[in-house]
């Protein structure tokens, strides 16, 4: 049970996230084929493979250095919209984390919120637009609520993972208003948003890493 997000735990988080998207590549792509361009699984798998290769091949001394590298690697390797979105998330995350080798739970909440801010700046999506924001925003709310209730890092991360999964599932009845899926309009109803699905994996990986 960790109470800090250290460099090693961060590496583990990224590795688990990479493994998850790799394992669920087909599922993510299937979700994307219903309402997008059928590349989210392969794009994210490619991106996270590049991320983990980069992380493994370097010895970052601080979280900011590490997550800026993650962000840039995603930007230049994912291809689809998730490249700039996840890229911006991790870049802002790294900047917010600062030149340190570990952050506590409150610090992690702040960095995650900075990352979400990057996503909404970039994609201009709001809650209910059927995007990754619909998984990430409730996750951070749950993370904050858990800390407020006196929970530790692991409790908060678990609460966030649960909320992200619920947020993911709640995208199914929504009408897409952003991205390629928005061209489908009403026809996007009934499908889970693939970005929300990969976001749920990100928080599940975080919860697993800090437990």
């Amino acid at each position: 049970m960790a109470d800090q997000l250290t460099l090693d735990i961060a590496k583990d988080w990224l590795a688990r996230f990479g493994t998850a998207v790799q394992e669920h590549k087909a599922h993510l792509t299937e979700l994307d084929s219903a309402i997008g361009d059928a590349d989210h699984g392969s794009n994210m798998a490619r991106g996270m493979t590049a991320v983990n290769d980069a992380v493994a091949g370097s010895a970052p001394a601080a979280l900011d250095e590490m997550f800026k590298s993650v962000g840039m690697t995603l930007v230049s390797s994912v291809g689809g919209a998730s490249g700039p979105l996840y890229g911006t998330f991790f870049l802002r995350f790294g900047v917010a984390a600062g030149e340190t080798d570990s952050i506590d739970a409150a610090g992690l909440l702040a960095t995650l919120q900075a990352g979400l801010g990057g996503i909404t700046d970039r994609g201009k999506a709001e809650a209910g637009d059927k995007t990754m924001v619909d998984a990430m925003a409730p996750a951070l709310d749950a993370f904050a609520a858990s800390l407020a209730d006196g929970g530790g890092l692991a409790d908060a991360a678990r609460a966030a993972a649960t909320a992200a999964a619920e947020g993911r599932d709640a995208t199914a009845p929504l009408v897409a208003r952003k991205g390629r899926a928005s061209y489908l309009g009403e026809r996007s109803v009934g499908h889970v948003d693939p970005g929300a699905a990969s976001t749920a994996m990100l928080f599940e990986a975080l919860a697993a890493s800090v437990t």
Binding site: M72, G80, A81
Partner: protein
Amino acid sequence: MSPPSRVGIVVVSHSAPLAHAAVALATEMVAEDPPAIVVAAGTADGGTGTDATAVAAAIEEADEGSGVVALLDLGSAIMSAEMALEFLTGDIEVRLVPAPFVEGLVAAAVRAAAGAGIDEVAREAADALAPKLSQLGERGDHRDGATQEAPVESDADARATAVIVNVAGLHARPAAAIAATVGRLGADVRIGAGGRWADAASPTSLAILAAAPGTTVEIVGRGPSAQDGVDAVVALVESGFGEEIAAEESGEQKGFTPDTGGEARSAAAAPLSAPLGVSAGRVVGPVRQAAAPAQEPPARMVPEAERTAQAERIAPACAHVAQLLRETAARVDGERAAVLEATAAIALDRAVREGAESRCREGSTAERAIWQAAGEIAVALREAGGVIAERATDVLDVRDRVIAVLEGRELEAARTVDPHVLVAVDLAPADTVELDPSTCLALVTERGAPTSHTAIIARELGIPAVVGASGATTIPDGTEVMVDGGTGEFVIEPDRAQRATVRERIVPEPLEAAGATADGAAVALLANIAGAHEAREAASWGAEGVGLLRTELAFLGRADEPSVEQQTREYGEVLAAFPQKRVVIRTLDAGSDKPVPYLPLAAEPNPALGVRGFRTATVHPDLLARQLDAIVAAITGGDAQTWVMAPMITTPDEAAEFASLARAAGIGQVGVMIETPAAAVMAGQVAAEVDFMSIGTNDLAQYVMAADRQSTDLAHLTDPWQPAVLAMIAEVGRAGEAAGIPVGVCGEAASMPDLAPVLVGLGISSLSMAPRALGPVAASLAAASLETCREAARAVVGARSSSQARADAAQRLGA
């Protein structure tokens, strides 16, 4: 800062093949010297996607110092491009343009290649969807150079709808009529059709509406004159802009090509896939390529302090061009004059002027601003298609003329004396107006349509013409070609068998014998001309003399008065073409209506009723004195029977004054023109002062009917068949007979074969007209006895309407 570099372009796409194909398409437009275009597309492994780092690198590569405009396809392309801006380290100005990808790229490439600034390149790209919206009739909130936003409901002080009823729809001339009317009333009126709105004071804006017959247009007015403006527009639209009547305007044209008008309209919408004959006649001759159109003015960023000065150059240059066009219009007749008046209206169009002025304020030179503003409107007109598209040439012609004025050049149509087939991409109104039918054997254009100016004027001048001849402008000068304006045949280097067919050319017959009625009463058939060149042509058509030499040609369109020597030479050449024949010289008919710089007159609200014609002689007597001296000097050197008359006489005293001046100068036969109702009513007393009278039916009809002769809407009133006009002519005829002096007609009426016998019956002894009308008029006179002519004359004066007058005359004349 005025960087010598150009704006770079970055193309961000999910797909490298898509981006490269789009770039290839855009580069075709600017193959000579494309701007820097860098692609950021696809993932590093060749897949579909975008990469913000690659976009940033592309921006850095494309920048030459003037900034970069980025075109984006969709989704992550937009986000990657936005993200790339955060990665840029240097100080590069970048515009991410919300433009349609392909259209925007083409527009941006063209503008960037031409050296436009970053804001202009970005704006052009962003507006690039407008032509497609216009073409496909899409309802939307797009805006292009001329269309307006829909008016807010609560803003309207007056509102109405009307249905377009005329065959050709809301094309250039109706648009000009609406704009003129609204402008006169000072009303703020907008007209909407198909979801688009136009400023009713802007003819080009209206034309882009492309409202076809049957279209319901909405008319919305604001401000104090709103109701008047809306009512006036409704009346114009519902009257069909007088188009039905306009078809009868030119009896001369109708006589020779009775079928082309109707065919032309129905064929207008058909695309030209092959050369199309638009004016009959079959000729062979050597090609002469028309002068190339104006070159695009170079781009230069004007320092802020000088921008207002650049903007202020636009309006005077436009006004000057309009004036020059109107001066030319004053020298020619009928359709040619109407075309020039319409072109002059474009030069004064608010859309053109304001578009250019706003570009000046953004740092463009005046030359370049007018180039781009007019170019944009021309593009919009072309995209509108059909009859409207043909007006794009007029706008570009105005553009070239305004640029010439701004650059201090005079744009002169090249003239050649050798017979030739004139080949051009398209001919501007002024080009065709200045055509010389005696040397121009035929016209061949790559563009154009049956209703284009090329076609209309070629028919009027009787020059064979073929339009839609792709590639014709690549034929070297001097190459023999055969042109058939009836069938559309266009043969390069025709063989002997093909040449032999050229004899089939049908032309009006020249006059073979002196004009006379069936029973031998002589009627002198004379020519209206404006210079020596036309004099020689008129002689070759068999004219018995000149009934009207317009001397304005020597005076108008120049900065200073021609010297007596110059005038003498000009008149002498005319007289030499008609040895021992009658030549009637009219003294300068300038003034408020046809201003000349060295004849300063106060501006008048109503030039047609102002200081014009002989009235100018009271303000500037020296000018007339020098002209009379020049005429006398010319007479002395020749052996023509030279008569001299003054224009625009109103009172017997004026007639007496002119007669004494002319006789004192040494002129033997002195006359006056009868163009005012006052002179016609007082013709008996006027006749007592002079040796002859000549009726100018165009102005006489205008003043008798109180109807502007330029107004298309009032053409039914200025019809010379109006019984009131004919009654005036009868009055003058009687006065002439009583005084024993000859009375002629030198207006449009004289060239109408069906009206000619009536005029003779009214006491007219000479008819002066365009040379091509001589044959048909002679044939018509030869078919009726003098007594029949008189019967017809008595019938028309008692008629109630112009149509009844026509019918009565036709019945008497057995036509």
